[in-house]
Amino acid sequence: MSMLTRKGLRDLWHVRTQALAIACVIAGGVATLVMSRSTLESLSNTRALFYQEEALADLWAPLKRAPDTLLPRLASVPGVQAAETRLLANATLNVAGFEEPARGDIVSLPLDGGQPLLNRVHLVSGRLPDPDADAEILLGEAFAQAHRLQLGDSLRLILQGHATTMRIVGIGTSPEYVYQSPPGAAFPDFQRFAVLWMNRHAMEKALDMDGAFNNVVFRLRTGAIAEAVASEVDGLLARYGGVGAYGRHEQTSARYLEEELRQLRTMATLFPVIFLGVAAFLVHVVLMRLLSTQREQVGVLKAFGYGNRTLAVHYLGIATWIAAGGALLGIALGTALGSWLAHVYQGIYRFPFLTYRLSLGATALGLAVSFAAACGGALLALRAAAALPPAEAMRAAAPSRFGATILERLGFQRWLSPSARIAIRDLERRPGRASITLAGLAMACAVMTVGRFQGDAIDRMVNVQLSIAQTHDIEVNFVDLAPRGAVFELAALPGVREAEPVRSAPVRLVHGLRSYRTTLEGLPPNARLRRPVDAKLRRVEPQSNDLLLTDYLGTMLDLKAGDLLDIQALDGHRHRREMRVSGFVHEYIGARGYMDLDSLNRQLGDGDVISGVLLGVAPGAEPDVYLRLSRRPRVMGIASRLASVRSFYATMGESMLIFSLVAALLGAVINFGVVYNAARISLSERGRELASLRVLGMTRAEVGGLLLGQLGLLVFLSLPCGLVAGWALCWLMARGFQSELFRVPAVLSTATYAFAAITVLAASGLSALLVYRRISRLDLVAVLKTRE
């Protein structure tokens, strides 16, 4: 070992606590990078593999009913490689011991008893139902797990009003249902929504669809344009009640998963940049300080003939050790966190397997960026030292120049104690360092707010969407459009306090070249259970014959109030109408249109009909109402609003809590790194000054106040900056996350601000305490003799 290496190691040992603090910040950055990239890549790879292995379709076309003989024509549409018909149905499920009804999507399996060509089921356990046994089902794994259902258990299924008991013979998952949310809901609910696979034959009988299908899926040839194929298919299916074919980007599960990966990608960029930026700054100031205490040594070494390059390598070596330590710690931490996060995702996105791999790219990038940050910081510090001629380097640095600060020039000096002046002048003399410290502290605070942002945003979404805009308890959907009189029938059920009709009509909205497939909701005048609101949460009523649109949809379709919009109904008489947009509705989940029910019925020409009823139910009456509803043949689905909110919190609650803890921890690490280093540097720079004051009779506390007061001021100033920066980060994330599926509001609760502020203060206090203990070790005697 060369003498210089030995010296480097000892110098490193000398600043070990500071080095550790920097390494922790680097580790935080590398860990977030490795975690998010590894999770992203693992999920992307798993998705690709699962989609490929189980043959996810490229195009879906739902319709009312068409004979199987149409298949050859569908398969011969240009661009189609394969087509497969099937039956889909909604059912109500009753699980023993679970009072509420659950909804199920039933998918038919081919007549031959084998796997379908497309959207195959990945069997987790058991087997496919026997083609000749009508009472066997294959159950989705998520629902099975949520209810602890096992092979051989039975399940009561109400299909078209007929209840049958089915035996579970297999449990599986499908690439079509990686993300499983009940129709109309934005979040998964594994207890109340199930996917089931049944024999085609049994379904044909139950649905009275012998030799017919109501859904067809396609695989496209490479290079085929999905939109072109879809429009050809729509043409063929128009007379069979086709409601418009759509590709993967409109398929709920695929769309949500894509959206999630996009969000993960945003986080994988944002967080590591913050952490590694702060780490680079810390390395810079620590090495700068180390070099300034070693100024004379640098001079002596240069006088002996060590070149600038050798010395640069020597000091870079110290930075490299810190970077390497931080990066390795970060990679280990990131790998662990990533595999944990991937498993959390696996609980929400139902992949049957997860190929978790440490992202080599992210690891390499993490190492490279850590070294770049450390060496970049070191090189900046070294530049000044290298420029000095040896003789000058060996002399002590000239005393720093100070002047009156702006505050004092403005006449505020009367209110400033000498201690305050010391603090303020020092800040003003090194505005760069002070502002970077401030920025680091603000970032730490911001990171903590971001950790709780998800929870706050969802609280707001749930609050607005479910307590103000949708106040019903139960939503009932009919199998087919029903006469309006059905409302009174349901209103008469015991326990029902209010009942309001709703018609949800599938439409394609077209404005110029832009179009979007969604639903138009027809609401009665003065509806109480569903009340669209504007951005200020004021109620908006649909005007007769005019249309209200979700504001995000307005932007998507480039519409402003008063514009005309082309409406293509996708069911019933499939009328095309031009309607005026009279205003916009503020919604966080989904994107749709609202109309007056009577006007909608007039425009679509299907008579005075409704597709469902919203119910307000007396407290405690829900189970009874469920039971009565589930016996009605025309009732297709029943959803409990509050139950789905509860379930959502149960699904997401844990992961949100862990997220906020991790973010708080990372924020605290940055905060500790910044405060501890700033205080240590300040202590070593001002040690002599402080020891002199101790000799002159200042107590330890007074001297501590002088040293830490300045930092306290910075921490104090950093709080508002951090909260604003946190809000800005959340706003940036909310912008990045918004899509027609949902818009995350950029809101932070007071509790979040308080949490961030308190954690900042606690972390700062802790590091201040560590430094304060060193004040008692100041060598009072040495001060009298030494010149800095």
């Binding site: 720093s400 120049r401 020092d426 003399r429 004051l693 000799v695 002159l696 009779g697 200042m698």
Partner: protein
Amino acid sequence: MSPSPLPSQPAPVFRARGLTKVYRMGEVEVHALRGVDLDLFPGEFVVLLGPSGSGKSTLLNILGGLDAPTGGEVWYVDHCLTGADDRALTQFRREHVGFVFQFYNLIPSLTARENVAIVTDLAERPMRPEEALDRVGLGDRLDHFPAQMSGGEQQRVAIARAIAKRPAVLLCDEPTGALDSSTGIRVLETLEQVNAELGTTTVVITHNAGIGAMAHRVLYLADGRIVREVRPPRRTPARELNW
């Protein structure tokens, strides 16, 4: 200034008996003080002379409450400093002792006035910082920062800072060590004047035997003991000193 007789006050400000101090430097024991008896009287100007390592600074540090002796006792008037804790020693320094360091140890970010004020803020009935600076001849440099002053001026600010709280004793460790001779003499004149006008007991450590001529009493230290005590028959005013 004419030579003045030793003020005849019976009770000493400081009384040290049998002071010993042993430092452990790695595996070696260094006996910095080997039994020192000393009385310092009010208004006295004492110069401690001796080569490096003779124990001057150790003695000064113990008197000033910066260090504790290994053996023996020190009394300040009626307070026993031996065995006092950090809090008590801090309080002692705060109320009774003024220090002047070789390298001034001013706070670079404070002006002359503020450097004095930071100490007067702690004191019971201090002089105003302006008055203290006026006494050391810096009444016109109140708002200068350390970087804007010469070494001698900085040292005089340090003296003003030390005397502003009206300490009973002024302890100066090589106050002229970092200065050239004419600047050093200006600093000594200031100390002489403070001693005469305020009656502050003043102890000056130096290598420079010439300075002894301005003292009431000169103590020679060697090997941790006071080996000789001289009372100059006639005190030489600082401005007439030469080295």
